[in-house]
């Protein structure tokens, strides 16, 4: 005999009943007298809620949506399923979870979900990187322009016409001789720090500090070539895609979709302060030396720049956004630069070099 509690949905009164499957109907019998109080078609029955281990079955009927039948004995579900096998099994309806112990479910479901989560967290940044690298050049350029505008929002850009002309000549010379499209946009940021970075879409920023610190135009050309190499290799775009992927994962993990929106600006901060991997830097150096050598420019400037910066850093101590903190200079880079470097022509004639160095002069 299976007992249940019947609530008719009209009042909160509770009636203890005996439940019995009669054909395709469920009969509710009065305890003691055996008098049939109610008939319910079994196909119309649904679980009113998920059934966890140790919890009674709570059933409702499509015909009487307010009424509830509560049965503690889980074997009753087996009897009902003989008539209506889909009960508590639909994907979008309430389900029966009492068949497996919590511990077992915890290991199986929890393990599966954890594996999926780890897989997602590991693969989304990679997917983001690939997606960013594959996006149309137009978008890449727009993103790059936004990032540059964000980074230079306080400092401004030096736009002295003579200096700009000199810089453009150098860029064209470097790009065309190496067979790259000359779609680089190189600007000088009015900032005292010695730094340079590439944003997506061929956007490259040098700093006033870099121009003043350099002991020759060849050093500036080497740094510029290095950033152009990053750009050609799509390092900034890929870094942005990866960062976006990470953010997407963590924003959804924390359930906060709004933070994804504020990402564009922070992507700039990331570019300014992050460093690429050792392999990426070495690769960019290699391409940079190729660009310089193809253009016939003396490429000894790269190693010279590294060595000098390292020395001056030893004296001045570490600084915030220094080029050495974003472009770690390790012995391998100097060794490689020395191995590939060639003698060559000056990067620019003296007039251009002076114009370039004086580009931000009025701000002093």
């Amino acid at each position: 005999m299976i007992l249940g509690l019947w609530y008719d949905g009209e009042s909160a009164a509770r009636t203890e009943v005996e439940v019995r499957v009669v054909g395709r109907q469920l009969a509710l019998l009065e305890i003691g007298t055996g008098y049939t109080l109610h008939h319910l078609p079994i196909e119309q029955l649904r679980l009113a809620e998920d059934v966890y281990p140790g919890q009674p079955l709570r059933l409702c009927s499509l015909m009487q949506p307010d009424a509830r039948l509560v049965v503690a004995d889980h074997s009753f579900l087996v009897a009902l399923r003989k008539v209506y096998p889909a009960l508590g099994r639909g994907r979008f309806s309430r389900s029966y979870l009492g068949g497996m112990s919590l511990r077992r479910r915890f290991v199986l479901v929890g393990g599966f979900v954890l594996a999926c989560l780890v897989g997602l967290i590991a693969s989304v940044p990679y997917l983001g990187e690939e997606a960013a690298a594959a996006m149309p050049a137009e978008w890449e350029r727009t993103a790059g322009e936004k990032i540059v505008a964000y980074i230079t929002r306080d400092m401004g850009v030096c736009d002295d016409p003579q200096g700009t002309e000199a810089l453009d000549r150098l860029v064209t010379r470097l790009a065309v001789r190496s067979g790259h499209d000359n779609d680089f946009v190189v600007q000088v940021m009015d900032a005292a720090m010695v730094n340079a970075f590439a944003a997506p879409g061929g956007q490259i920023m040098l700093t006033r500090g870099l121009l003043h610190d350099a002991s020759s135009a060849e050093e500036v050309a080497a740094v510029l070539a290095h950033e152009m190499a990053h750009s050609v290799l799509q390092h900034p775009t890929r870094a942005m895609g990866r960062a976006l992927g990470y953010r997407l994962v963590f924003a959804t993990l924390l359930g906060d979709a709004s933070s994804v929106a504020g990402m564009a600006g922070q992507a700039g901060e990331t570019l300014l302060n992050r460093s690429y991997s050792r392999e990426a830097e070495l690769e960019a150096d290699r391409i940079a030396l190729q660009i310089l050598n193809n253009a016939g420019i003396d490429s000894q400037g790269l190693a010279a720049f590294f060595e000098r910066r390292q020395k001056s850093r030893l004296f001045s101590g570490p600084r915030g956004s220094d080029i050495l903190s974003t472009h770690p200079s390790f012995p391998a880079r100097i060794t490689q630069a020395r191995a590939y470097e060639q003698e060559g022509l000056p990067a620019m004639h003296d007039g251009d070099w002076m114009a370039l160095q004086a580009m931000c002069h009025e701000k002093y």
């Binding site: 919890q55 009424a67 479901v109």
Partner: protein, 342 residues
Amino acid sequence: MDGHGNPGRTQRLAYLGSGMELFLIFLVNTLLKIVTLGIYHFWAKARVRRYLWTHTEFDGERLEYTGTGGELFFGFLRALAIMIVVMLALFVLWQLSEILAILVVMLAYLMSPAFVGALLYLAQRYRFSRTRFRGIRFGLQGKAIEFGFKFFGYGLLVGLTLGIYKPHMSMQLSSYTLNNTWFGSQQAGFTGQGGDLMGRFMLAYGITVAGIIASVMLIFSGLEPVLWGAMIGAVVIAVMLAWYWYSVEEMRYTVSHTSLGDMRFALQASHGQMFVLSATNLLLLVVTLGLAYAWVTVRTMRFMASHMQVGGELDYAAILQTQEQSDALGEGMAELADIGAL
């Protein structure tokens, strides 16, 4: 013992959930949220509520939550549509008269606490109408906008009285909410009054004022910075404890002045017990970086249920299904305004 002669039946309310099960639900929800780019949020919320409700047992019968994720999602979409329409209307107004548009926006901004209050009330109404016990729905009557204006007006009074009106505000709001709460045809009641809490509130308030004065004096006392720093630290802890003590007092007062028919309630947890619960919960969350949230939720509910003394009986046969199902628009708006509760 309660005044209705029910010896031996103090443990009528029980929470039967398990932290492990809830954690599993959180875990699955997280994965589904990521896969659906966050849209599963609404279904996740409904699932968690169903779990929490159905493991709350009273007199041998469990609560049931009948709300669905789809309902919440459509409530949210409707709220979004309304917001877009309002924005468009504002845009049109801006084209017609900039000053008028600015005035409207400023007025809306000033009145925003009233909206927040109204949304909280609507969301509560939705949750109540989706809660069933013995097949009978709960309900929240009253007008959301009335509650919103009370929320706004009393809030203003609290500001004008430098916070002293706070107990009155809490009791007035509880009174409005609880006197409008129904279980089927049975109305709940609340008889609490801010005046009863005033003495206790002023004690905590006085300790705070004394603490501020003492801190200022300590800073200018010429003592060693380390010494006065430590003493101010002690003062801050004393003030926080005073407010913790008051919040427990207010909670107990509110519970013991709430009724449902002949039923009365009392929270029988001492200050020490409550403090240990809060402190260990905080510690658990900090140590596990929030992963223990499921266990913290369950142990808090278990603690509250097991310390809630219920006296008196309900005439269940006389309680009829009278409450309507309200819609999820209010909760959708609350979600949009980022004040969505669990």
